[in-house]
Structures are given as C-alpha cells and as structure tokens.
C-alpha cells in the first residue's frame, strides 16, 4: 500500500493563505456593509489601509507560494530550500505585519508590529532573487 502523497509545504501554505485572506476580504466587505466605525471612521483611515494591504498581500503571496510549488514540480532543478522557506516566511510576516499594524494603529500611525511587514518584505525579495538567479 503506497502512503498518501505529501504535498509540498509551499503549496499547502499557499492555498491555506488564499483561503484565509479571501475570508479576510469578505470580512472587510462586511465591515463596509455594516458601516462599522472602527473600520470606516475618518480616524481609522490607517487601519482601513493596512487591513486592505494585509488582504491583498496575503492573497498574492499565497499565489506566489502556490506558483513556486508548481514550478518546482515542473522544473525540480529550481528547488531551493532556503528560498522556499523565505517565501513562506514572507507569507507569514507581511500580511501579519499589516494586520497587526492596523489593529494597533494609533491615529495616523500603524502599530509597531508593522515592522513585521518590512521583515517579510526582505524575506520575499531574498526568496524571489535566489530563485531568479537559479533560473537564469
């Protein structure tokens, strides 16, 4: 009996991220629908911006991870363990940084957790750069 195929982590994480951040998009739309002040009031402009960024980055980085997993399956020579991990790291830190930065925003300034987004951004650049070099 053959054991069930274990799918690559980037693929699984990518789809879970798509699920999570599409759900977040739905929640944001609902907040518009119910005119929730903590999301829509003028004072909360920063929160609205950061949560929209979290939704967009989370969904897009989910797609990037799925694309990476499928690319490696098609061209195994492009597999790079650290680059793959960096993409996962970016998937975790960037949207989380925006989400927490918005949740803890004070006036026009995001919470300090927005620093996570910058760290995730560095991981993303690193991962993409390493894969690009390999594919060159």
């Amino acid at each position: 009996m053959t054991p069930p195929e274990r799918f690559p982590l980037n693929l699984r994480a990518g789809f879970w991220a798509l699920f999570a951040f599409t759900t977040l998009g739905l929640l944001l739309e609902a907040m518009h629908g119910f005119k929730l002040g903590f999301y829509l009031n003028v004072d909360n402009e920063t929160r609205r911006l950061l949560w929209r960024l979290a939704h967009a980055h989370g969904a897009l980085l989910g797609l990037v991870n799925v694309a990476y997993a499928l690319t490696v399956r098609a061209w195994p020579a492009l597999e790079d363990r650290l680059a793959g991990r960096a993409l996962l790291c970016a998937l975790l830190l960037m949207p989380l940084g925006f989400l927490l930065g918005g949740a803890f925003a004070r006036g026009a300034d995001p919470g300090l957790s927005v620093g996570l987004a910058a760290a995730g951004g560095v991981a993303l650049l690193f991962g993409l750069g390493k894969i690009a070099l390999k594919a060159h």
């Binding site: 005119k35 790291c89 006036g107 995001p110 957790s113 760290a119 995730g120 560095v122 991981a123």
Partner: protein, 603 residues
C-alpha cells in the same frame, strides 16, 4: 501594547522556525529581516506623539462627529470639508495656520499697545511670544493695557485658531483653569499680514482692548454642542464640545442614534427605498421654512440665551436641537427688545448693532434680517423665504454657499417670475447691468463685517424716509455721485409710491452727493460701508474725482477699520486728472454734521 509585543514575538519565532538556521545565507537573511523590521517599527513608534494638552474636553455621547458621517455620505462630507464652516475652529497645528510664512517655518510679528507680539512654529504647533497672558488676563479690563505694557515676555503654545476665510484669530490658555483667551493680534488672510486685533474690528480709537474668552462666547457657535461648564465661584471652565468647528451635527442634530440605526444594511436600504422615514436625524431641507431658517438662525442672529444660568453650564444642549422651536431657547435681539425693561445688558450699544429702522447692521446675523423681510413675513408654505431659498450648504461654492441653481435672479424668480424674465421693465436699468440684479437693490451691502460690507439679508425696497436715513440707500450705494433727493425722485417716478415725507438736507446743502453725505457725515459703520462701496466694481464708475476725494478723507478716519477698507478701495482706483469736486466749505460742513455715536462691531 503588551499584547502587540507578544504577537510580534510569536510571529518572529514562527518565522525563524520556518527559515531554519542550517541553510547557507539563512543567518544573513534573518539579520537583514530583523534590521528592516526594527527600523520600520522604530520609525513608526518615534513619530507617535501625544496630543498637546488643551482645555477642551471630549464630545457628548449623543454625537457621532463628522468622522462617522463620511462612510455613508462621502459627497456631503467632501463639500463640508471644503467649507469655511469646518475650519471655523481648529486646533493650532501649523498645518491649519492660514499664514504661509508660519507654515514654512518663518515668524510674524506686530506691534500693539507698545509691545511686540510674535508668532512662530515649534514642533508642528503654533506658538506666540508676548507679554505673559497669565498676567494680562488676570488684570481687570480697565487695567489691561498697563498690565500688557509691564508684563514679562513669555512663549506660550497657541491652543485654538478661529477663522480661515478673512481673518484668523488665536487663542491661548488663560490664567483661570480651562479658559482660553484671545491673542491681541489677528492674521488678515488676503493681505497676508498680522495686525493688532483692535484694528481688525470696528472699534472707537480710544476703546480699550477687549478681553474675549472663547469659553463664554465663541463656544456657542464655533463648535458643535459647545458647553461652557463655567464655575462661578472660581470663574474657571471645564468647557467641552462634541466637535470643533461647525460640523455635520450643528445642522443635522446629534447623530449617534442615526449612526447606530444605519449600521444595519436592511435599515439603510429601506431608507433609500423610502419605506423607512424615521431616520433619527434632522434634514433641514425637509423642515418648514421657519424651522429650517432657525437651524441657521441659531448662530446667524443676534441673540441672548433665554435660560442664561443653564446656558453657562450646558450651552444650548438642553434648550435647542435642530428642528426645535428656536424661540424657546433664544431671545432674538432688536432695538425694541433692547429698549424694553429688563433687557439683557450687552457689551455694546444698540446703535452699534442696528440702524434706526431696526435693520441689523452686523454681518453674520442674517436671521435678524430675514425675519424683517416681507418675503418671510408675508410668504407662506413653499413661497415663504428661508435661508435655503438661496443657499445650499452641500452644493454651493465655499464662498457664500449659494445654490448653483439660484444664482443671479434665479433665487427671486422662484416667486417673482415676471420681474425676473423681463428685468428691465421693473428695474429701468439695462438687462445685463448690475442695476437689473434683484439683490443689488433689495439686498444692498449695508451690513458691516470683518473689514468689509456684506449684503443686508433684510430683503426690502429702497426707502428715503427719516426713519431709515442712517442706512445708506441701495440706489446711492451705486450712484454715489447723485444726491439722495435724486434717487428718491427716480424711485417715485418709476414705482409711483411716495419715497417718504422728504429728506431734510444734511449740513444745509441739498446738493451734496449722497456718497459725500455717507462718507463724511455718516457714523463709523456707514463710513466703512461707503468706503467698501467706493471700491466695488458694480458701483457706478462715474465721478472718479469724487471717489478719490472721498477715499482721501476716509484713509485718515478715526477708526482703523475705516482706514483699512478705504486704503484697500483706493488701490483699485484709477488716477484722475480732475481736481477734487467738493468745495472745502461743504466738506467741512459735512464733517461738522458727522454722526459721532460710538460704534463698536467687534466680531
């Protein structure tokens, strides 16, 4: 904060675990990520500054503030955001300061009462350097000048700004808890200059500096739901306002219930479909003419609170909300009311506020004029004049906020269609001329406000009787070179009614041009209004030599405000080779006959 840190650390630990440290370059990547994250976090936290302390408290619970209105009413929010109403009161951040020099890091100063007052920016906030306001504001009003001249110089943060259209006024914390005192300087926005506050208003030359407190005056109209909260024993304040400036809820009433109800999308769409009409908010457009005008009249009138003791605590919070009957809360002032026994004592005379025929002459008090207009008193239902007959707060341009569909003669045409479709038949002026615009004859510029003249909102026809003699008539405000008798004769010829029992000549001369009578023999407000008329384009351009001669007189007037308006008018005047047309003897007689009542219009 602790929760945020815990979440950040957890996320970082997960990230490190994901990356692992055994891979080549992993440590380098982690370091770069840590550096980028820490830099952004430090930058973000370092720009967070606590708000400066201000003696203005938070808002009332029933008020949602304009912050909550935008998400459902973006267009209305945008039009309000562009308005001067919004900027009537602002906290004194440099970005809200009208003077570009100050916003760009420069300094402005002016000499007043023998001392220099200087304004400058410090860490994004406006500051003032002046004789210590704690010392000067503690002095009795008749000792203010002595105290101002002797007090040590001090730097103080400016707390609030008033105005963004013509003038900007500055408020600093006073000596008593919670009070805000006015600075003795005003910034003139068009002229881009700082001037002494006493010169920015119509004040007799020997009038003492007025010690104005924001808490006991401006709060009632320049903020939403302002409550003075005055402590009589200590003369201190715990003033609060739902929102600074004139925001949505000033006209629509407290909105927290409306916001709560409208968070339900089903309720909103029922309201859009018209199946739900109880919206827990007031729309002045749906009120009767009287009640809609009272919404504006709450502030645009000369009034006194009927429940004075309650007002010193709660403002009008307990006595008026938009849509209510304003007469329960406010006593509208008029010469008759002020002459009655037990009338409220004002800091200024009835002569300063009203013409002898009861027409208000203070700008910004248009509701007083409206109530004396035949279009209001004799109109009914939809044909009854209201503020919204001409103005639209959300459609009009910020200046005057006139309804774009009711410009020119269109506002009057709503009722007077015949006159508007063929104006010349009624006006006896060319159709395209200023003389054929209804408001030039029926709403002349005879109200004084902020170094200028604005239209009277008492809509009436030019009259030439003794009772209204001290109010410049509409005809002669354009035809300044003609006599009052000439204008009265024209009116009688065209409209067939007697223009009055006949005006007695001023200074023994029936030949004096009306412009000379107003400019030389009028009281200070009339002289200011005439100076403005001499500089207006729609005024007759005839007799430039007379205009130049009158302005030459007015630039040396006793009242600084008259001088300022005359100087401004003279800048637009073309030089003329003709000599002064008025005989020196006539000028002297008119000056001798001058109405020397003390006039104070300090707002």
């Amino acid at each position: 904060m602790l929760l945020e840190w815990l979440l950040v650390i957890t996320a970082l630990a997960l990230g490190v675990r994901l990356l692992g440290l055994r891979e080549r370059y992993a440590a380098l990547l982690l370091s770069a990520m840590a550096l980028a994250g820490a830099t952004l976090a430090v930058v973000m936290t370092s720009v967070q500054k606590p708000p400066p302390p201000r003696p203005i408290g938070g808002g009332a619970e029933a008020f949602a503030t304009s912050n909550a209105c935008r998400s459902c009413h973006p267009a209305e929010y945008a039009s309000w955001h562009d308005s001067y109403h919004r900027r009537m009161t602002q906290t004194a951040e440099l970005t809200a300061v009208a003077a570009p020099e100050l916003r760009q890091g420069g300094r402005l100063h002016v000499e007043t009462t023998g001392r220099t007052v200087e304004l400058f920016g410090r860490q994004g906030q406006l500051w003032a350097r002046l004789p210590d306001p704690d010392v000067t504001s503690a002095a009795a009003s008749d000792a203010y000048e002595t105290s101002f001249q002797a007090a040590p110089i001090r730097d103080v943060p400016v707390q609030l700004l008033t105005g963004s259209h013509q003038h900007q006024t500055f408020w600093v914390a006073g000596a008593r808890r919670g009070e805000l005192r006015v600075l003795p300087v005003v910034y003139q926005i068009d002229e881009q200059r700082l001037i002494a506050r006493r010169d920015a208003f119509l004040n007799p030359p020997d009038a003492p500096e007025q010690a104005v407190r924001w808490n006991s005056n401006c709060v009632q109209c320049h903020a939403v739901a302002g409550q003075p909260a005055h402590d009589e024993a200590s003369d201190a304040f715990a003033t609060s306002a739902a929102e600074l400036g004139i925001a949505c809820e000033a006209c629509h009433g407290a909105g927290a219930d409306h916001v709560r109800a409208m968070q339900n999308p089903l309720t909103r769409y029922a309201a859009h479909a018209g199946t739900r009409t109880e919206l827990a908010i007031v729309n002045p457009k749906t009120l009767s003419s009287e009640r809609a005008s009272q919404v504006c009249g709450r502030c645009h009138s000369y009034f006194f609170p009927k429940q004075e003791a309650d007002w010193w605590q709660h403002g009008f919070a307990n006595s008026y909300a938009p849509g209510d009957d304003l007469t329960r809360a406010q006593l509208l002032l008029s010469p008759e009311v002020l002459a009655a026994p037990g009338a409220p004592q004002l800091g200024t005379s009835a002569d300063s506020l009203f013409y002898r025929d009861g027409t208000i002459r203070v700008g910004g008090r248009e509701y007083n004029g409206l109530l004396r207009s035949a279009c209001f008193t004799r109109g009914h239902d939809e044909k009854k004049l209201s503020c919204l007959s001409c103005h639209s707060l959300h459609e009009g341009a910020p200046n005057d906020q006139l309804d774009p569909e009711k410009l020119g003669n269109q506002a009057c045409a709503q009722c007077h269609q015949g006159h508007a479709s063929n104006p010349s038949a009624h006006t006896h002026h060319a159709a395209a001329s200023p003389g054929s615009l209804c408001y030039n004859c029926h709403m002349p510029h005879v109200s004084y406000a902020l170094l200028g003249a604005i239209r009277s909102h008492r809509v009436d026809s030019p009259s030439f009787d003794v009772a209204s003699r001290d109010r410049p008539n509409a005809c002669n405000l354009c035809h300044l070179e003609q006599t009052e008798a000439w204008a009265a004769g024209q009116v009688e010829r065209w409209y067939g009614r007697r223009a009055g029992p006949g005006l007695p000549p001023v200074a023994g001369s029936s030949e004096a041009p009306a412009g000379a009578v107003f400019a030389l023999a009028g009281d200070a407000a009339v002289r200011a209004i005439t100076a403005a008329a001499l500089g207006r384009h729609e005024s007759s351009q005839d007799a430039p030599a007379l205009r130049a001669q009158l302005l030459d007189q007015l630039v040396h007037d006793d009242y600084a405000a008259v001088r300022t308006i005359a100087e401004r008018a003279r800048q637009g005047l073309q030089p003329t080779p003709d000599g002064p047309p008025l005989e020196p003897a006539l000028v002297a007689r008119l000056l001798d006959a001058r109405d020397r009542r003390r006039i104070t219009i300090a707002e």
